[in-house]
Symmetry: C2
Subunit: 377 residues, 2 copies
């Protein structure tokens, strides 16, 4: 049996994309097929096309969507490495940019001039995203010069837009009703923070108010983890994410709110060794992902920073030199990522777009061992 | 630009195979193309089809051979990971088995009944090998149940034959003129060894004569490394591989002779956790590769063990219960590998065959960035 598939790079992930018409409709059969195709029964994915790392053992099943206003549905699959199982509960923004380019390249949506919009529904989570694919000249591009932090490789520019990102968790863009405020953290003096719910609930610390810069190295950020956890834990109940009295003795979790530092732009060197001048970006951002420094910035955190950047007096607009609804360039450890709010009404962004890049790496027919045969063991 | 290529697994390696007609003839251009296709400019090979490990960042260029008696030439490429360069000086036996299957599957050689012989010349080294590919029923198979040590994955059986392997380095199958002898190692008592030059120069220690079993775990073998180095260094001058007076103070190197223990079969558990009974194999083999325990057995070492197995009184024929020119099953840490001498004249094997397996994983068109463009950086 051989199955058509396309290997894409979306941002810093590699992902095989399958058209639904070529794979089993039954979820259990599909999972068996992916495990066999990836060789995912063993930890080096030797007998298949898997890349044996979390960012290179991903797949998505793409189909024309029956939903009005949606072009394509995609089901994201994190193919377990050596587990012989697939994790079906999450979404992947990097893969979404690959899906947008694939939908254009495979003729699943009509090309509309220099930019082609692909409306995508992630069927794992129900989230609807838009990919705005560079189709300059009205044609599909296979190569491009757009980059994303974390790799020097260029690709086709894909703007990835989150729709109606504000208040998704708490119901409010500003759960405390204020664009910025003083937060008392432990026994030290107060620090200035903005608590924002857009893309995800995020607490952003004005680095200067805390004796930091927002342009710390990853090594330095590693040392800040315990302190930033105390900031997260102090913010969680104020954002309605944790009710201290509800479970006596319990602590807030480490997934939300996301937490990080922001500061004015300063010259720095990326983890790839490239120099970034202060005029190359608008605001320094250093986030945690769970309890580790994020090597760049999570897409949902970038959305929150952009949303805060709309607001007078937020820690973001102060660091960036004033509120803006233009492209905001975030200086992250891995490099600069641009994000922009549009369709703004009463300070609420109805769309937030992150500038990403994707590239088709290969079109293939994968020889998939029959499940149950020795190859699939 | 997109380039046709086929991903094969040969034994425990993954390798992309290209037909010469689809790639640049100029070596420098070819190297640029491979680096771009693999994304090999960065250490995770993000922007391409490379697998970012030494065993999954390999390629070979296959062509119909102009050499009489040779079916296909192949040029092996070890694509450097993050170096942006290709290493062109070595051969890869695992990839050779993939080349044999590819040559059959792509119609480069006629199928001849249940087994199809492919004569291959490795143009890096000039070595000529034969692949005997399972074509049961007179057809190409894409899947099979043959396994090799180091993976549970099954593939199509490919017998890989080394031609005229005896005396390649020293001119003699037995450089000392004896099938076995006592070797004094350091200050301890003598141990019984066979010093054989077939495939490569190898010194094989009768494990029992040294208070070992030949069925040691990899952990235990790690502890034996210093002692086995002294065996290697004692054997080197006797095999003509090192002249002590030539460079005063110099020590023998660690590449040759290859060194290891052999012993009678005993029940053991492979590194994959599988039980092997003593009747499942003929001889225990534990080799070093340079100064580390080999996880299985190098193909050239397997050739030497088989050649020694032909000879009355060698440490191999004694451990295996007598000389044999049938398949000899070597029990290695990773599992059992079978090897056989044929065309034997006066104790000299003119051909030695190792039983291997290969599988086509995918046929693809790889989108290769123009070299010099940002993608290739």
């Amino acid at each position: 049996m051989h199955t058509p598939a396309t290997l894409v790079r979306g941002g810093t992930s590699k992902c095989w994309l399958f058209n639904q018409v070529h794979v089993p409709a039954d979820r259990a059969e599909l999972e068996k097929m992916l495990v066999a195709a990836y060789g995912a029964g063993d930890p080096v994915e030797l007998d298949g096309v898997g890349g044996a790392t979390p960012t290179t053992s991903k797949a998505a099943i793409v189909s024309a969507s029956p939903e009005p206003g949606v072009d394509v549905d995609y089901l994201f699959a994190q193919v377990g490495i050596g587990t012989g199982a697939v994790e079906w509960t999450s979404n992947c923004g990097n893969c979404a940019t690959g899906v947008a380019l694939y939908a254009v390249a495979k003729g699943m949506v009509p090309i509309t001039g220099d930019r082609t919009r692909v409306v995508m529904r992630n069927t794992n989570t129900g989230a609807v995203l838009e990919g705005l694919v560079d189709t300059t000249g009205g044609v599909v591009h296979h190569f491009g010069r757009q980059t994303v932090p974390g790799t020097r490789a260029g690709g086709v520019a894909v703007g990835l837009t989150f729709r109606e990102p504000a208040g998704g968790t708490t119901g409010l863009l500003l759960p405390t009703g204020r664009a910025a405020e003083e937060l008392r953290v432990g026994t030290a003096g107060p620090v200035r923070v903005s608590m924002v719910d857009a893309g995800a609930p995020v607490v952003l610390v004005d680095a200067g108010s805390a004796g930091r810069t927002g342009a710390e190295t990853l090594e330095r950020m590693q040392a800040e983890v315990p302190w930033l956890r105390t900031v997260r834990h102090a913010a969680a109940p104020l954002m309605g994410l944790f009710e201290p009295g509800l479970h006596p003795g319990a602590e807030p979790g480490d997934a939300v709110p996301k937490v990080g530092l922001v500061g004015p732009p300063v010259p720095y060197t990326t983890t790839l060794g490239e120099r970034v001048a202060s005029e190359d970006y608008d605001i320094s951002v250093r986030m945690l992902t769970m309890n580790a420094p994020h090597p760049a910035v999570g897409l949902t955190s970038a959305v929150a920073v952009a949303a805060a950047g709309l607001l007078e007096d937020s820690v973001v607009s102060r660091a960036a030199g004033g509120p803006t609804d233009e492209w905001l360039r975030l200086g992250t450890p891995a490099g600069v990522v641009a994000v922009r709010c549009t369709d703004v009404a009463d300070g609420l962004p109805r769309r937030v777009t992150v500038q990403r890049a994707a590239r088709l790496l290969a079109d293939a027919r994968i020889y998939v061992p029959e499940t149950g045969s020795p190859q699939a063991a």
